[in-house]
């Protein structure tokens, strides 16, 4: 399996769950969106809202300069980084097999053995153990390494 550039290497990295790897990758993607937005808005709000004198045009590659430096260049840069990130930053993961219940009623697709409830989890039948407060708190945010202890790290 190909390991993403931003994923931690070695045993620890290989054994992280898909959700943690996915979340970690998502944070990098959102950072890229944020940086590209700051670049674009920062440049365009500074230079793109000034009145333009037709006799004193600033043109880059045929377009107004603020369009090239504030939109064109960040777009091409973001596109290149997106491509690079997709090729080396996102790790290939096994998405699992499709449940055989594909053609069953949605009520019969049982969430891996857990029967579908007609009410929210606060009325979970006694057969389904609710976690203690500590257990739940320990997993906040979905990034806590301790949540993966059961994976044999």
């Amino acid at each position: 399996m190909r390991v993403g550039f931003f994923s931690k290497q070695g045993n620890q990295g290989a054994q992280r769950s898909l959700v943690d790897r996915s979340f970690r990758e998502a944070k990098w993607m959102l950072l890229l969106w944020f940086v590209s937005s700051v670049w674009t808005l920062g440049y365009c709000l500074t230079y793109g809202y000034a009145p333009i004198d037709p006799n004193d045009l600033e043109i880059s590659f045929g377009m107004p300069s603020w369009v090239f430096w504030g939109v064109g260049l960040p777009w091409l840069t973001t596109m290149s980084i997106s491509i690079g990130f997709a090729l080396v930053g996102i790790q290939d993961d096994d998405l699992g097999v499709v449940e055989s219940a594909l053609d069953q009623s949605p009520h019969e697709t049982t969430s891996g053995g857990i029967p579908i409830l007609d009410v929210s989890e606060d009325a979970v039948p006694s057969s389904l153990d609710s976690p203690s407060d500590e257990e739940v708190t320990g997993n906040q945010g979905g990034t806590d390494r301790s949540s993966n202890q059961g994976e044999g790290t």
Partner: protein
């Protein structure tokens, strides 16, 4: 003789045949496979090209090739900043949720977005709420796209003689039918043809046909835009020349006035919309058709546009002299010309922000709007169920990764090229403000005629067909799947056999399409506003609850339901506030920001509060969806 309009008719026929062939092939491939999984999700088997292009084409609706070019033409280079949020859209809308939602859907066997939520929390109520909200918002979408499909076809076939004779026949037939006689007969014909074509190929081929036609449509759009870019830059004399000419332009003026026959006229005339009049110093374009009877020698009051830039006037005079544009020798009598609220008499206004605007004194793109759109485009796209459901259909993560690459390049080329092409169109075709939605087909016809290749217009005008069809088909299936899979199979008949489900799926798809068509025979006045309402509403409803459900272990069904209602109610509340403040069906822009930002905020706050004070999540569900090693 080949001209723009019969080329459009030929294109539409060839295109429709190709779509039906793909539907037939899809139907053959689907034989022997599980019906529900195949009809609504193509058996989750799509590779890079199919997944990437269906995603790209579904996102590019009719607005991309009709509304967006019209906006560029009307407001100039500021549209480059308006659309800049698309630069990070492929990564944000495909990869942030893609891997995770696909995994959860496989794990649970979910085929729809409401089903993903239902399975994630093992809660039917969560699924039901999601289904009802999805169907509610989605129906506005379908209705709007059907209208767009009918309108585009009407625009493109307007001058075709065969089409006109069919229209006359339909007009006679429907003259005495209540309801139908209120609709424009040409629009009625196009709406019927468009609706039947889409419904038939979706019903026959299912999700696979939709994806395959999206691939074809995506390719048609790409080739069309590249050809237009080359022809435009060649004919305008290079981008720098176009920019320098745009810098001298000032916005046109509109006025209501009377057209008079000149003293040497010997008969009355019919004045068609779009005709130019070179009246002494003014160059004027008529914005609506009218008749001048010889006995009366004057028209009724008619709307007109006056050019205010000398270089534009010169270009039109040259075109009139060469007979390239329709013109009449009439006298124009207008008392007052209305100037743009922002940008009038300001050379350079088409090159800078906020861009000219005829009715808004702060211009087209205020700073708050610019900031909002950088957030709106990627995240609103990420929250659209028609996009999200595609994330359930790719076969492996390699497909996802290479699709991000493909869509990143695709969007960069398409959107940057469209901005360049339609900025240049300002120079090549003055006066399109009378009907900006015709900018795309008119430019295609002019470019190919000037290049001596009128047949090429067919490929160019196929792009808007492709864009609308690829959106309509997706929305149709999303609503059908919600009704059949989430509602009927989930609540009404849990043990329904495949034959019954198959018949019901076909029936619901046809019914939804038919109802949408009925709604737009006489489209509601505020339809465009309803589209905006539905777009923001869907993303506000689904994005935050779904994202937290996939990544946050503490998320609960109560929080998901609250988040969906939180986003929806914020959206509805701001829209009601806007209606109260402005008297229009438009959401209030609190602090000058797009209401979508506040909707997301409302949804997120609601989710977090309910998680904090509400019931605890179920540990077995956490183990199942978060702690399984992969």
């Amino acid at each position: 003789m080949i001209n723009g309009s019969n080329t459009a008719l030929m294109t539409f026929l060839i295109y429709t045949v190709a779509v039906f062939i793909l539907a037939i092939l899809s139907n053959r491939v689907a034989k022997g496979k599980d019906f529900v999984g195949e009809y609504f999700l193509g058996s989750r088997s799509f590779g890079v090209w199919a997944f990437a292009l269906t995603f790209a084409a579904t996102n590019a609706s009719g607005g991309t090739f009709m509304g967006f070019p019209a906006l560029i033409y009307t407001h100039g280079w500021s549209l480059s900043l308006w659309i800049a949020g698309y630069m990070a859209l492929p990564l944000v809308s495909m990869a942030v949720l893609g891997k995770r939602i696909n995994q959860v859907a496989r794990q649970s066997g979910a085929l729809t977005i409401p089903e993903v939520l239902k399975e994630r929390f093992a809660s039917s109520i969560t699924g039901l709420v999601a289904t009802l909200l999805l169907v509610f918002f989605m129906f506005f979408y379908i209705v709007a796209q059907f209208k767009a499909g009918g309108k585009i076809l009407t625009t493109l076939l307007a001058d075709d003689p065969i089409f006109q004779s069919i229209v006359r026949g339909v007009e006679t037939l429907t003259a005495s039918v209540p309801g139908l006689n209120r609709a424009e007969p040409d629009y009625l014909v196009c709406l019927l043809v468009f609706a039947v074509a889409v419904i038939v190929y979706v019903v026959y081929g299912g999700f696979r046909a939709v994806v395959w036609t999206d691939v074809m449509q995506g390719i048609v759009m790409f080739i069309g835009v590249i050809l237009m870019l080359g022809l435009t830059l060649h004919q305008v004399g290079g981008l720098e020349n176009a920019t320098r000419q745009m810098a001298k332009m000032t916005p046109p003026e509109f006025g209501q006035g009377i057209l008079r026959l000149k003293s040497n006229a010997t008969e009355g005339v019919t004045v068609k919309k779009g005709v130019w009049i070179n009246d002494s110093e003014d160059v004027v374009r008529v914005a609506e058709s009218t008749e001048i009877l010889f006995a009366k020698r004057r028209s009724d009051p008619v709307r007109m546009l006056r050019l205010t830039t000398e270089s534009e006037r010169e270009r039109v005079r040259e075109s009139i002299a060469k007979g390239l544009v329709p013109s009449l020798d009439l006298q124009v009598d207008v008392e007052t010309w209305d100037r743009y609220e922002f940008g009038a008499d300001q050379p350079g206004v088409y090159l800078s922000n906020p861009g000219p605007h005829d009715s808004n004194s702060i211009g087209f793109l205020a700073i708050g709007s610019a900031i909002s759109f950088m957030i709106f485009w990627p995240f609103a796209s990420a929250g659209q169920p028609s996009n999200l459901v595609r994330l359930l259909s790719f076969k492996d993560t390699k497909t996802l990764r290479y699709s991000v690459v493909t869509v990143s390049i695709y969007y960069a080329v398409i959107y940057l090229a469209l901005v360049i092409v339609f900025c240049c169109a300002r120079v090549l075709m003055p006066g399109m403000e009378i009907d900006p939605d015709r900018t795309m087909p008119d430019l295609a016809t002019q470019l190919t005629r000037n290049a001596g290749m009128p047949w090429l217009a067919g490929i160019l005008v196929a792009a808007p067909f492709a864009a609308v069809m690829s959106s309509v088909d997706s929305f149709l299936l999303v609503v059908s799947s919600a009704v059949v899979r989430d509602f009927y199979q989930g609540f009404v008949r849990k043990d329904a056999d495949e034959k019954r489900i198959k018949r019901l799926s076909y029936f619901v798809t046809i019914l939804v399409g038919f109802l949408a068509m009925l709604f737009v025979i006489d489209p509601p006045k505020y339809l465009q506003d309803l589209i905006v309402f539905a777009t923001g509403g869907l993303a506000a409803c689904f994005l935050i609850p779904l994202t937290l459900s996939l990544y946050w272990r503490r998320m609960t069904s109560a929080a998901a339901i609250s988040g969906m209602f939180g986003g929806t109610l914020t959206h509805v509340g701001l829209t009601a506030w806007g209606y109260w403040q402005l008297g229009e069906f438009r959401a209030f822009e609190f602090l000058g920001m797009n209401p979508f930002i506040w909707d997301l905020f409302g949804s997120a706050i609601t989710c977090v509060i309910v998680v904090a004070v509400g019931p605890k999540p179920n540990k077995k569900l956490i183990d199942l969806y978060f702690n399984r090693a992969t």
